[in-house]
Structures are given as C-alpha cells and as structure tokens.
Symmetry: C2
Subunit: 467 residues, 2 copies
C-alpha cells in the first residue's frame, strides 16, 4: 500500500523548477520503501542497549559505547569512521535515599538530579515546605523564611504530543535548588519531570548559579510525590535526604563520526546522541536516534554501492557524546568544525524517542521554503505533514544552528516519551520496530534529498556552498 502511495506521489510530481533532481526524488522513494522493510535501525538499538547498556557521559561505559560504535560503523562499510575526542567534567550518582523521619517513618523513591552535590554521610534532615510550582517558590520572600528547610516543588507536567510540556516543567530541575538556596533552604526536592504514574523518578541535569549556594537536590517519582503531599496534609513532615556523588574534573568523552563521501566539500549531517543516563539502558533516549540515523545512513551506503553514484554532498553521521550533561558533544563539534560550518548544507538530529514522525519542521531561508514544502510532500506517504520554519534540529545541533546551519526537525510523536524519559524504565521493550522503520525512511529520504538538492537552504545562493 505504502509502496503504491509512494509511486503515485512520484508520478504526479511536476518535472521542472524543482528543488530536487527527479532522480534524487526517485532514489528517495526507493530508500523509503526499502527502509520500511529493513530492520537495521532496530537491530542497532537492540545491540547498543544490550551490548553496552547504560552509558553515562564521561564514564567507562560511554567509552565502551564509542568502541562499539566504531567497530559497528566500520564493519558496515562507512568511510572516515573516527572518534573526535573531548573531555568533560564528570558526575555520577553513588547512593541516594529519602526517608520520612517524622511522623510517618518510611522510605520514598528518589533519584539524584545530575550535577547535584552530595549531602555528606550524615545526610540532610529538615522539615519539608511544599510549593505548588517553581513560580510559587520564586514568589516566596528572600527573608530566610526557608532557613533550615527542605523545599519541595510539587509541580506537574502536561502530556503533549510535541513535548511542549517539558520546557515548562523542566525549569524546576535547576530552579528548585537555586531558588531554595537563596531563601536559606538546605535541600530541594522536586516532583519528577515526567508524565507517568509509576514509581520511577526521572533524573536529568541541573545547574547551580555561579556563586550561588549549592544545596543537594533530587526528584521524587509521581507516586512518592503524592505520598509526601498526603503526609503533609496531615501535619508537619521531616525528611532525611542522603545523596552521595562522584565527580571528576576531566573525563574522556567524544563524538563518533562516519561518512558517505560526496562529490563536493559540502556536508549533510544526521545524528543522535550516544550517551544515556545511568538508570535505564537509554533505549528511547537515545539509542533510538542512534538506530534511526545509522539505519538511514546504512541504507544510503548500500544504495550508493549498488548504483556506484555517490551523493553530491557528503552525508556525515554523528553520534554525539555527553549530550545529557549539557550538549557537550554538540558544542565540541561546533568548535572543532567551526571553519567548515559554512559548507554544512543541512542537519537533523533524532532525539525524541521511538515514536513515529508526524511533522517536518525546517529552519531554512525564506526563499528556500519551496524545498521544505517539497520535502514534506515527498515524506507525506509516511504520514508526515509540513510543519513550520522554526525547527530546532535537535539539542546537539543548537550550536551549529546558531552558527547558521539550516536544520530540520523530523518531529516524532512524543505522547509517551516523558513516561520513560530519564528513568530506569527506558529499556528496549518500549521500542516498536515498525515505528523505527518509519523514522529510518524519513531520515534516509531527507538525507539523500538534502545531499542532492539543486541548491542549499540558506537562500540567495547561486552555487553550492556560497554564503
């Protein structure tokens, strides 16, 4: 059925004044059809999550993930497979516990937020003061009213398809500790940034303000946040928080890169992040992205081998390191490749789980909108609609997008993403192979078309690579 739709879509395509050559569009249709029958993407996800498992930024496990990726990409036949190394400040959890001490002694399930300080061996004990939202805490006077207290920012998160609830909810991840400390609090707890109702706390990076007091901070699972709230409805509640963490100034990380060489110096970039949080195996965040983009690149690689015709531009696959701890791989790439960014024609990162792509967003120049429209039309048989022109492209592309590289977001259905995001429960069984294949199809078509487009997407370009 889809194969028929693809053929029909191609058949009605006008022949002239198009952003993509007709042969490139035909190749894209072939790649999409093959992708839907191909299991490479899913297999990569399975292998990475099984053979490496959790792979915390800067850890020995992340190093093993790089080794795994190098071997895998080389055996697949990619060119210029390499690691671009950089180093990062390392943080890891060692132990974490929260107990209600009074009046209802019991353990609550928490997880330390990435970057938090530890509590020391004696823990931190104090009465809990609850705030409905970060805004409510920020509205509290800076008069030492929270001196010696444990603040609890009990703010929920709205479930949305596009993940827009995350941006709102995530502010408390740093904000609770920052704003609590300013008011004299000794620790900060938050209701997890997540949408599930299971007993899985969600981790994620937090930051202290420079020169601000650093107080330990952790997230409660949804049921535990409810439990703490219920306990507090019955009167004052004292808790004891124990966090122990390990930090190092310089730990090794790196981006793994592989290429399908083109006929020019221009580059189309697709990628995902290789690191994950330590709690789960990072199947949806972001082994899925690794599988999707590697699967797409492999289909193109095989197509090129079959036809003997390389793409106009080089297709570069990047598996970024240390995304979770501050988009460090993306920043390192932007720095290392600052000189060539002008030759980067387009980029897209897959980092929103394992759901199907439902929308194509672009960030192209005004006079390159036709290319975006055409791209969406080619992807339409996959169930992809045209979105707006304010794409972010993916977290690790933030720096290069700021430097002017046109980016695309193949937006995935994120309805369930924050049920699992940054929890222990982020494991392979949550990934549907058919949904991955649909993503692979979209990335393969996008990468091939961008790599063979008549012009770039920066506008006002007469020739390739012109700025």
């Amino acid at each position: 059925m889809l194969r028929f739709l693809l053929a029909a879509a191609m058949a009605v395509a006008p022949a002239a004044a198009q952003p993509f050559p007709a042969e490139a569009e035909e190749a894209a249709a072939t790649l999409m059809a093959r992708a839907l029958e191909d299991e490479t993407g899913y297999q990569v996800i399975e292998d990475l999550t099984t053979e490496v498992g959790p792979r915390l930024a800067g850890s020995e496990a992340e190093a093993r993930a790089r080794g795994w990726a190098l071997a895998r990409l080389r055996s697949m036949g990619f060119e210029n497979v390499r690691v671009e190394a950089f180093s990062i400040p390392f943080w890891a959890r060692e132990g974490e516990a929260l107990r209600i001490v009074e009046p209802f002694p019991q353990a609550l399930r928490i997880t330390a937020l990435g970057g938090t300080v530890g509590t020391g061996r004696r823990g931190v004990t104090g009465e809990v003061v609850r705030f409905e939202s970060l805004g409510a805490l920020m509205a509290a006077p800076m008069d030492g009213s929270l001196e010696g207290k444990v603040v609890f920012v009990d703010e929920g998160m709205t479930r949305t398809q596009d993940g827009s609830g995350y941006g709102v909810a995530v502010a408390k991840r740093s904000g609770a500790a920052q704003e609590g400390a300013k008011r004299g609090a000794i620790a900060a707890l938050i209701r997890s940034v997540g949408t599930d109702q299971h007993r899985f706390p969600h981790t994620g990076m937090m930051r202290y303000e420079e020169d601000g007091e650093k107080i330990p901070t952790a997230a409660l699972s949804w049921p535990d946040a409810e439990q703490l709230q219920r306990a507090m409805e019955r009167g004052p509640v004292t808790v004891r928080l124990d966090l122990s963490v390990v930090t190092e100034k310089d730990a090794p990380s790196g981006n793994v890169i592989a290429e399908i060489p083109g006929r020019t110096d221009e580059v189309v970039l697709i990628g995902a992040h290789l690191d994950s949080w330590d709690l789960g195996t990072g199947a949806i965040d972001d082994a899925s992205g690794v599988g999707i983009t590697t699967g797409a690149a492999k289909l193109i690689l095989d197509y090129v081998a079959e036809t003997g015709e390389p793409p106009l531009r080089t297709i570069r696959l990047i598996l970024f390191g240390s995304e979770e701890v501050g988009l460090l791989g993306g920043k390192a790439y932007a720095e290392a490749h600052a000189d060539e960014l002008g030759d980067h024609v387009a980029a897209a990162e897959s980092d929103f789980g394992a759901g199907r792509v439902w929308q194509l967003e672009t960030r192209f120049a005004e006079d390159a909108q036709e290319a975006g429209d055409r791209l969406a039309r080619i992807l339409a048989p996959l169930g992809v609609a045209r979105g707006g022109n304010e794409a972010e492209g993916g977290p690790d592309l933030t720096a290069i997008a700021e430097a002017g590289v046109p980016v695309v977001t193949l937006k995935q259905n994120g309805w369930d993403y924050f049920d699992l995001h940054h929890t222990e429960d982020d494991t392979l069984d949550k990934v549907d192979p058919d949904d991955i294949a649909q993503n692979v199809a979209a990335y393969a078509a996008f990468a091939w078309l961008a790599a063979n487009a008549e012009e770039g997407f920066r506008g006002g370009e007469a020739t390739q690579g012109a700025q």
Copy 2:
C-alpha cells in the same frame, strides 16, 4: 440507578422458605446502597498506606500498623478491639544487586525473594544457565551439570481475570533454588512472578527444602529478564549476585481483632491482612482488603447503632499479621480459636487487590447451596454472578476452612493485580475509590446476611451452632 435495581430485586423476592429473613435482606439492600455512597473503605486504605506505609511481617513497621489499627478501630466504636500476639521468624532484605560481569558489564534490576539466604560480602559469581520453565530445570539431569552455575528460570506468567496464572508461575519462586541446588547451582534467578512489563521485580516468599542446600535466589524484572536473555543469545554470560539479608528467630507479630457483638456465640468472620511486603506501601496487597472489610464492618456498626438491633451472630473483623511470610496470622488464629471454630458460621477474606467483585464463590454444604444462590442473587445488582462451590475464602482462612468453617470468596477482577503485586509500584494511586465502594457493598451485605441467616451453611443443621 443501582438504588433502583436493588429495590426492584428486593421487590420480586419470594417471601417464604428463604435462607435469610426478609428484614435481613432489606437491611442488606440498605447497606449496599449506603456503601456505594461511603468513602470509609478508601479512607482507611489511604490512611494505612500513608501513615504507616510499608509494613513487613515482624518488623517495627508492622507493629506500628497494629497500633494504628487498634486506635482506628477503637475510635470507630468497635467492641473487643485487641491484638492477639504471636511471634514469627523474621527475614528482611538489606541489599541486593545483580551485575553482568562478562561480556556486557551492566547492572540488572532484581529483588531478593523472601526467605533467601544472603551471598556473603564477596557475592556469588557464575555463568548463567537459562531454562524456559521450572519443568525444564526439573528435567535436567542430577549429575552435577550445573555445578558452579547460576540457574535462570525464565518462565512467564499468563494474565487472567481470576489469577489462575499465578498458581502456575509461582512454583518457580521456591523451585528454582530448590531444583538448582540439587544440581549443583550456586544461585538461582527467576523472571518475576508478575504480568507487567515495567522495571519492577516482584518479591514474594520462597522456601528451601528441609536438609536441602540453601542457595541465594532473586527475581529479575520483566525488562531485565529480557535483557539477560538477549545477552545470552550472544554467547556465555557471567553474572555476580550480591544479596544481604537480616534474620531473627523470634519477632513480634499479631492479629488485630474488632467485633460487632451478636446475640449468640456464633461468629461471622471477615478480614484481610495487615502486613505487606517492604517494597511498596501495600496498597492493593492488602491495604485494600483492610479498607474493604473495615469499611463494611463500620457500615454495619453504624446500622446497628441506628436500629438498636444487633445481628444474630457476632461479626468479627480480623486484620491478620504476617500473611506474606507463610499465612502465619491465619495459622495463629486457627490455633488460638480451635475450640470455637465450630461456632464460626462463615468467613471471607479480601486479599486480591482493588478490583471489583464479579463473582461469589462459596464452600457450603450441599444442602446449603440455596443460601449461596440467594446470596448471589442479592449481590447481583453490584455486578456479582454466582460462582462455584469450591471457594478458598482467602489465604488466611486456609487453616479454618480445613477445620470445616464454611467460606466465601467475593472474587475480584484480578486482570491487573499481578502487574503491581509485591512490587515497589503497589501504591495508593492504583486504587479506585468507586471500585472499593463496590467491594465494601458486597462484604457488608455478605456479613450481615451470614450473621442473620436462618441456619448456618454446614448442612444438616436443625439449630444454630449445631454440628
């Protein structure tokens, strides 16, 4: 609507030769209607799970639960509120971890099975040998072929409404360690006895054979069992198991009892178990049963106060201690009350979660079947159908049922029960107040009718209490 149905059901009831007096049936209808509007049952569940939380058999938390129950039942106005103390062998988990050592180093989520021995500080390290089922392990030769190995019984569990999948699956909980040890294994792992696909291992009691070798044993969550299986598909896998446990010979436990005195020495018993596993707050197992039966008893208590007419027989509410570790509260009750069991007219325990009652099973004498049929007809407006006559009555009633006490099972929908059973995720948020109210209605009607039935349910009885 239900109120109308109840009235209609009563209106068509024949007037003569019935097992229950007409006034008792009218009172039952009133109690059912009130139950559906009453929140006491749910409130008890909330209070117990919040104000006590987890309450492991023999622990200080279980003692707090008894104190909580005494105070609550007294303040509700019950008579003869008391603890019947007994002591138990105590077991508690202290630490638990499983790691793949080779070839894919990573942690897997496990929980120690109740009663297991520890591994010692150095842990137990060995190659994993997987068996599809306990039967497959039992079919393995007793020739030392598992010498130094870690057995892994990777048997699933079938989801059913009536929980019948549990009986099959639970055999491996003791069987893996028993049968593994006989063949020289040094540790035993099982896929959790549960139906969910989240990263929650399910605990539960295991037993060693007398004079058998005791090897440490633990359960993997569903995703971790899948992960171990996937790792093993790639070649030999070595794991390290670390379990540390605490045991004591004699720890205090007890049954909490409250009564609505009747006009004779005969007794109708309803109850649930007060203890829970340590991982969750035991909301569905078995604070729900505590709430359901306490809520039902309280409705009757209020009705009696209102009418000034006590029931014919005493209604005794029992909150059993130490069910989870071997039905010890039920056994202690049967022993302590051996002399009066002949006066126990009927008994029912609620211990299958928070789902709605859909069937009434009895274990009545052949010539008391009419009473069972009539009872089912009275409960029909609640959505309860007549089941068979092989009721078990509930785990803590096993001993008294064997001693001849007629039992009833108000069978609940257990479709989701084993998703949460004996996991961390067994928390209050999984309990629906409306479903609890329906259970309370069924228990209130049952208890009142049994306490006022014309005759008992043992058959051949001319007068009350005759054996």
